[in-house]
Every structure is written in C-alpha cells, then in structure tokens.
C-alpha cells in the first residue's frame, strides 16, 4: 500500500478538522479533533510500550540469571570442588584410622586366644583331677601370667573399639558437606533450565534462592571455603563460652 495514501486516509480528515477548529478558534471542536487523533494513535503506542516492557523484563531476568550463573561458575563450583576434595580427605582418613585400629586389635586378640589354648589342656587335666604336681605348678604360673595379660589386651581392644566408634562420625560430617553440594547442583540445574527457557523467550524465570543466615546452620568447617570467624577447636569454644560467663 502507498504510505502517503495510507497516512492521508488515516489522518487527513482529522487534521483538517483540527486545523479548521484552530482557525475558527473553536475550543471544543479542537479538543474533540485532538482526542480523535490521539485515539487513532493509542493502540500503536500501547503495542510498542508493551513490547518494550517485555524486552526490558527479559533483559532484567537474563541479567539476574547471568550474574547468578557467573557466581556459580566463578565461586560456588570451585567451592564445591574444594568441599568434595575435603570429603575425600576425611573419608580416606577415617577409613585408614579404622583399619589401623582393627589391625592393632588383631595381635592382642590372637595373643589371648593362643595363651588360653596353651593353658587349656593342663586346666582340663586339673579339672579331671589327672594333673601331675609339676604340671600343676606350671599351670598356676601360666595362669598368673595369663590373667593380667588378658586384662591388658582386652582393655586395649575395648579402647580401639571405642575409637572405631567415634571415627564413624565422619559420615555425619561428610554427609553435611555432600548435602550442601547437592543443593548447589540443584540450583545450577534450575539456573540452566531457566536460561534455556529464556532463550526460547517462554516462561518467566523462577527466583533463585540464596541461602543465608545462621538459623539453619552452615555445616562443618571446610578449610579454604568456610568464611567468617570460626572456632579452631573445642578449647576455643570453651574459652568463648567462659568469656560469656558460662
């Protein structure tokens, strides 16, 4: 369609009416013609405005997403890497500590078993009243040595078992760290899904939550990752609490 003809058809009569009203100094006719003109122009303006708003929204969403993704890529992912390395180290140490304790418990258990096996025939002969005097003295001597040795060996095994028990605490500590990394992976997944959606200019972006505050807890200290003022150990905690009057 010829553009000038179209303009003429769309605005010609209205402008003429407007000019005529202006020349005639007819206020109400002038305003009427002006309203008429604005009315013709309005749908086009609204359309442009709507398009601008949508573009702005998409740009803002993308900016928010981009900066969160940049955070994830630059900080959270390397942090997660460090956290998992720490988990690896803790599980390695716990497994070795447990194996050490099991290995240490073998010899005393074996010693006890061997000593008992050695004493058993004489003891059975004694119980059957078939023991010779010399063998009886040997048995008494053997029992004198056996009882305190068993006591010491059993005590060392018990200590090792208690230590094995405590060492299993690694599961709690590493589990907390792994949970944190799982949260991060889920967040990354959400951000990537949103990015895909934005690229298709479909749904709006779901808000990315950030975890903050003490109430929920932060999990175990991870060297090189945990920020802020952290107690270095139980003594530090005790000192802090006694400073608070506890």
């Amino acid at each position: 369609m010829d553009k000038s003809a179209s303009l003429q058809a769309q605005y010609g009569a209205r402008i003429e009416a407007l000019v005529a009203a202006l020349k005639g100094d007819d206020r109400s006719a002038f305003m009427g013609a002006l309203d008429d003109l604005v009315h013709v122009r309005k749908p086009a303006l609204m359309g442009e405005l709507r398009e601008l708003t949508v573009n702005l929204q998409v740009a803002l969403d993308r900016f928010r997403l981009d900066s969160r993704l940049a955070d994830l890529a630059e900080k959270d992912i390397p942090d997660a890497h460090q956290r998992l390395a720490h988990v690896l180290k803790m599980t390695d140490e716990a497994a070795h500590r447990t194996l050490d304790l099991v290995e240490q418990s073998g010899p005393p258990a074996e010693r006890t078993s061997n000593s008992a096996a050695k004493l058993l025939p004489s003891w059975q002969a004694f119980r059957a009243r078939k023991i010779e005097l010399r063998a009886f003295h040997e048995l008494l001597k053997g029992l004198d040595a056996f009882l305190p040795a068993v006591r010491a060996d059993a005590e060392s095994i018990r200590r090792n078992l208690a230590e094995v028990l405590l060492t299993q605490g690694y599961q709690d500590l590493t589990g907390q760290i792994i949970r944190g990394v799982m949260l991060l992976v889920r967040e990354l997944e959400t951000a990537l899904v949103d990015l895909t959606r934005l690229s298709r200019a479909e749904d709006s972006v779901s808000p990315i939550g950030s975890r903050s505050g003490n109430s929920q807890g932060h999990g175990p200290v991870v060297p090189g990752v945990t920020q802020g003022d952290v107690a270095s150990g139980q003594q530090d905690v005790d000192a802090l609490l006694s400073g608070l009057g506890m």
């Binding site: 208690a162 028990l165 405590l166 299993q168 605490g169 690694y170 599961q171 709690d172 500590l173 589990g175 907390q176 003490n214 109430s215 929920q216 807890g217 932060h218 999990g219 175990p220 200290v221 802020g228 003022d229 952290v230 107690a231 150990g233 139980q234 905690v237 802090l240 609490l241 608070l244 506890m246």
Partner: protein, 128 residues
C-alpha cells in the same frame, strides 16, 4: 546425678545418633531415646520424662537452635539441660546458642572425653 536419667539424642544422621548412644552407654546411661530433627524431638520432649537433651544444630526440618528456643520458651521444659553437639563452629553461632540458653557446646569431631567432661559439668552445675 542418676544413671537412670533419660537422654534424648537429636541428630539427622543415624550414625551420629548411634555413636552418641554408645558413648552414653559407656558412661553408664542406658536410657537413651532418639529423634532425627527438632520437629520430631519436640513432641517427645513435651510428652515428658526426658532429663537431658543432646542436639545437633544443622538439621533439615527444624534445626537445633530453633529446638533450643522452643524448649526455653516452654514453661515445662525451660530448665531442661541442653548440650549442643554440632559441626557449626562460627563464633557468632556459638554466641547465639549461648544467648538462646544452651548449657554446653561441643563441636564435631569430638572425643569421648570431651563429651563426658561437658555432661558432668552440666549435671554438676544442675545439682548445685
């Protein structure tokens, strides 16, 4: 302090609950109940009969700090001895727990000796 006293151990990790339960057994306390977060612990506490609460901090559902606050806000439980046994080691958190009325704070990983010492200290203070 009586060896018959009843403990409630609250931790979302069952391994840690077993560890604490075993350590308490070693110390002569046989009466130990478990819960896996504050939400499940609170009704147990409110039902009565618990003499000592040992709780973790970081738990899904209701964290230990919120449990501690709920305990202190409940007239019937307000004086219950509470020991926090947690990996949370930020100074501000320890102060927050102290302000919320915790009786002892042990950070993980811990030793059997530390747990024993803190328990005895809290029970000794309560007996005075």
């Amino acid at each position: 302090m009586s060896k018959d006293m009843k403990f409630l151990v609250v931790d979302d990790f069952s391994t840690m609950r077993r560890i604490v339960k075993n350590l308490l057994h070693d110390l002569g306390y046989q009466n130990v109940t478990e819960a896996d977060d504050g939400k499940t612990a609170l009704p147990v506490l409110q039902a009565g009969g618990i003499d000592f609460l040992i709780t973790d901090w970081n738990m899904p559902g209701m964290p230990g700090l919120d449990l501690l606050k709920a305990v202190r806000a409940d007239a019937k439980l307000a004086k219950l001895p509470v020991l926090m046994l947690t990996a949370e080691a930020k100074r501000e958190q320890i102060i927050e727990a102290a302000q919320a009325g915790v009786n002892g704070y042990v950070i993980k990983p811990f030793t059997a000796e530390t747990l024993k010492e803190k328990l005895e200290k809290i029970l000794g203070a309560g007996a005075k």
